[in-house]
C-alpha cells in the first residue's frame, strides 16, 4: 500500500444496472485527511459511487485506486481495501444476534486476528468515543436509532480504517437523534479522518467539509469548498437543489 498516494482516486467510473446508467464517468480524487460531502437528488448515483469504493458494487469501467491499490476485481486487493475502508449505512445494519460489544469485536478478531482481550479493549475505547460504553452488553434492538448508528460508527472504527464512508447516516433517524450522530462525525472529522459522506445535512457540510460535491444523473456536476458551494453555486441544477434542501 502506497503511503503517499491519495486516499481515493476515481477516473472515468461507469456503472449501469441492466440498461440504466447509474454512473456516467465519475472523476474524483480525495486526498488523505480530506473530508468530502456528497449531495444530490435521490437516484443520482451517490450510493452507487461510494459503494464502488469498497466494491459492494462492482464497476463496469474506469479505475478506482484506494490508498494506491487498484481495485481490479482481484480478491487479495479487495480484502486489503475493505480492511482499510470503514462504512456506515443508512439502516445501521448492526448484527441483531450479537451484543454491541460482539458487533465491535467480530471483525477485528476475525479479520485483523486480534486476541479477544485486545479487541475488547479497542471496542471499549471506541464505544467511549461515541459515548455509549455503558450499552456494551446490550443487543442492538434494545437501543434507540441514534445509539444504534453510533454503535455502527464505533464498529467500523474498531477496524482502525484509514478511510470512512458514510451513506446518509442520519436519514433513517428521528430528528432529535440526528445531532448526537453528527456530533460524533464532527469529532471524527476534526481528528483528521479521511471521510466521504453522502448526506443532506448542509450544516454538517459547512462545518467540516473541505469540499462539497453535487451529483445529478450519475455525474458530478459541481465540486467546491463549502463557502463557495453554498454562496456561489455555478450550475443551475446545483442552485435548484440547494434551494430545495435549504428551503429558500
Amino acid at each position: 500500500m502506497d503511503r503517499t498516494a491519495p486516499a481515493i482516486e476515481i477516473t472515468g467510473l461507469h456503472k449501469s444496472y441492466g440498461g440504466f446508467q447509474a454512473l456516467r464517468g465519475i472523476d474524483l480524487t480525495v486526498a488523505r485527511g480530506e473530508r468530502v460531502v456528497v449531495c444530490g437528488p435521490s437516484g443520482s448515483g451517490k450510493s452507487t459511487m461510494i459503494r464502488c469504493i469498497n466494491q459492494l458494487e462492482e464497476h463496469d469501467s474506469g479505475t478506482i485506486r484506494v490508498l494506491g491499490t487498484v481495485l481490479d476485481g482481484r480478491l487479495a486487493s479487495l480484502d486489503e481495501i475493505r480492511r482499510e475502508v470503514g462504512m456506515v449505512f443508512q439502516q445501521f445494519n448492526l448484527f441483531p444476534h450479537m451484543t454491541v460489544l460482539e458487533n465491535c469485536t467480530l471483525a477485528p478478531m476475525l479479520v485483523r486476528r486480534l486476541p479477544r482481550a485486545e479487541a475488547e479493549a479497542t471496542a471499549m475505547r471506541f464505544l467511549e468515543k461515541v459515548r455509549i460504553p455503558e450499552q456494551a452488553q446490550k443487543y442492538p434492538a434494545q437501543l434507540s436509532g441514534g445509539q444504534q448508528q453510533r454503535v455502527a460508527i464505533a464498529r467500523a472504527l474498531c477496524m482502525e480504517p484509514q478511510i470512512m464512508l458514510f451513506d446518509e447516516p442520519t436519514s433513517a433517524l428521528d430528528p432529535e437523534m440526528i445531532a448526537e450522530v453528527l456530533d460524533v462525525m464532527v469529532t471524527l472529522a476534526q481528528e483528521g479522518m479521511t471521510m466521504v459522506c453522502v448526506t443532506h445535512e448542509m450544516g454538517f457540510a459547512r462545518k467540516v467539509a473541505d469540499r462539497v460535491i453535487f451529483m445529478d444523473r450519475g455525474e458530478i456536476i459541481e465540486a467546491a469548498p463549502p463557502g463557495q458551494f453554498f454562496s456561489a453555486p455555478q450550475n443551475d441544477r446545483t442552485r435548484q437543489f440547494l434551494s430545495q434542501v435549504l428551503g429558500h
Binding site: N54, L56, P96, K138, S144
Partner: protein, 364 residues
C-alpha cells in the same frame, strides 16, 4: 423508536370470578359456547380417567378374564409384552444392549441440547462417540458381544436410530442444498433446485422403496451396503429437501444490509456465512425446523413397509399373539405416550431455543 424498557404493565388485580366471567362468558352466546365445550371436555376427560385408571387392571399377573370383569384398561399387557414393544425382534438375551443403546442416544441428544456444548468440535466429539457406542452396542461383534444383524434391530432403538441418523445426515445436506440453490452461479443453483423439487415431488414411501429394493439392482455391489443404511440415506435426502427450503426461507428473510455490513468490515465468504448469515437464518427458520423434526420423527414409522420393525411395528406384533389380541388399545396408548413424550420434549426445547435466541433482541 425501538427503545424498550424492562418494566411490564402490571395486570390490574381483579377477582378470579370476574376475570373468568370476562374471559369466558362476556356475552350469553359466549357463556353458552363455554358451557357446551366445557361439558364435552369434562365428559371426555372423565371417560379417559375412568378407563385408564379407575376401572383399569394394574395387577401384572391378571389375565384376560380379570380385565374383562373390571371393564377398564388392561395394563398387564404392557408388563407382559413391553420387551417386544420396545425392542422388537432383537435377541431376548441381548436386549440390555438395546436398552443401553437407547440411553446412549438419549444422552447424546440431551448433551447437544445444552448451550455450553454448542461448538463444532464438541458436538462432533459427542456425536462421534455416541454413534460409535450405539453401533457397537447394537451390532456387537467386538469385545465378546454377540453380533446382531441390522435386520434384527427393532422397536425404540431402531426408531431413535433412524430419526437421529436422518437428522444428523439430513441437516448438513440441507444446508449445502440451500446454499447451492442460493448460489449466483446457475451451474450450481439449477441442479440444486432440480434435485430439491424432484425429491419434494416424490412421496417418502416411494423413496424408501427405491432405496431398499431398486438401488441394489442398479448399484455396483460395493456401493449397496446394508439395507438399513440405504433406507436411512433415503429418509435423510427427503428430510434435506424440505429442510433446505426452510433454511433458504430463513436466508431470504435476512435484510440485505447484513451481508453488506459484513463485507464492508472485510469478513470473507465463510466468515459471513458462519457468523452472520447462518445464525440469523436458523433463528428465522427455527419454528419451521422444529416442525420438520417432529414430522421426521413420526415418519420413521414408514420404514415398516420395507421390512423394519420400528416402534409402531413392534407394538403391532406385541398384541398379535394369542392371549393379548384384545388389548391393542392399551398397547397403542403406551407407544402414543412414548411418541408424545418425545415430541413434546422437542417442541418445548424449540420454545426454549426461541426464548434464548430472542433474549433481549426483539427484532424490529
Amino acid at each position: 423508536m425501538t427503545q424498550t424498557t424492562p418494566t411490564r404493565a402490571v395486570p390490574r388485580r381483579r377477582g378470579l370470578w370476574r376475570r373468568l366471567r370476562h374471559d369466558y362468558a362476556a356475552t350469553p352466546a359466549a357463556a353458552l359456547v363455554t358451557l357446551v365445550c366445557g361439558t364435552i371436555l369434562v365428559a371426555i376427560a372423565w371417560t379417559l380417567i375412568d378407563w385408564a385408571i379407575l376401572r383399569a387392571t394394574f395387577d401384572p399377573a391378571a389375565g384376560r378374564e380379570a380385565c374383562r370383569a373390571a371393564g377398564g384398561a388392561c395394563w398387564p399387557v404392557i408388563a407382559a409384552r413391553w420387551r417386544v414393544i420396545l425392542f422388537g425382534l432383537y435377541p431376548y438375551d441381548e436386549q440390555w444392549r438395546a436398552a443401553l443403546a437407547c440411553l446412549v442416544v438419549a444422552a447424546v441428544i440431551l448433551l447437544s441440547c445444552l448451550p455450553r456444548m454448542w461448538g463444532l468440535g464438541r458436538l462432533a466429539a459427542i456425536w462421534a462417540t455416541g454413534t460409535a457406542l450405539f453401533y457397537l452396542l447394537m451390532r456387537g461383534g467386538l469385545f465378546g458381544l454377540t453380533p446382531v444383524n441390522e435386520q434384527q434391530w427393532g422397536g425404540l432403538p431402531l426408531t431413535l436410530f433412524v430419526f437421529v441418523a436422518t437428522a444428523v445426515i439430513g441437516m448438513p445436506m440441507a444446508i449445502v442444498l440451500a446454499l447451492m440453490r442460493r448460489s449466483s452461479l446457475p451451474g450450481i443453483a439449477i441442479p440444486a433446485g432440480l434435485l430439491i423439487d424432484a425429491i419434494r415431488s416424490l412421496p417418502l414411501l416411494s423413496i424408501l422403496f427405491t432405496c431398499a429394493i431398486v438401488l441394489p439392482l442398479v448399484l455396483p455391489d460395493f456401493l449397496i451396503g446394508e439395507k438399513l443404511y440405504r433406507v436411512v440415506f433415503g429418509a435423510a435426502l427427503f428430510f434435506a429437501a424440505y429442510q433446505a427450503e426452510i433454511i433458504r426461507g430463513g436466508f431470504q428473510a435476512i435484510p440485505r444490509g447484513q451481508e453488506e455490513a459484513a463485507k464492508a468490515l472485510g469478513l470473507g465468504w465463510r466468515q459471513r456465512l458462519v457468523r452472520i448469515l447462518l445464525p440469523q437464518a436458523f433463528r428465522l427458520a427455527l419454528p419451521a425446523t422444529i416442525n420438520q423434526f417432529v414430522i421426521a420423527f413420526m415418519e420413521t414409522a414408514l420404514i415398516v413397509v420395507v421390512g423394519f420393525m420400528d416402534l409402531l411395528a413392534s407394538a403391532n406384533t406385541a398384541f398379535r399373539t394369542g392371549e393379548w389380541t384384545f388389548a391393542h388399545v392399551e398397547v397403542y396408548a403406551f407407544i402414543a405416550a412414548i411418541y408424545f413424550a418425545f415430541v413434546f420434549g422437542l417442541s418445548r426445547y424449540g420454545a426454549f431455543l426461541e426464548a434464548r435466541m430472542d433474549a433481549g433482541q426483539q427484532r424490529s
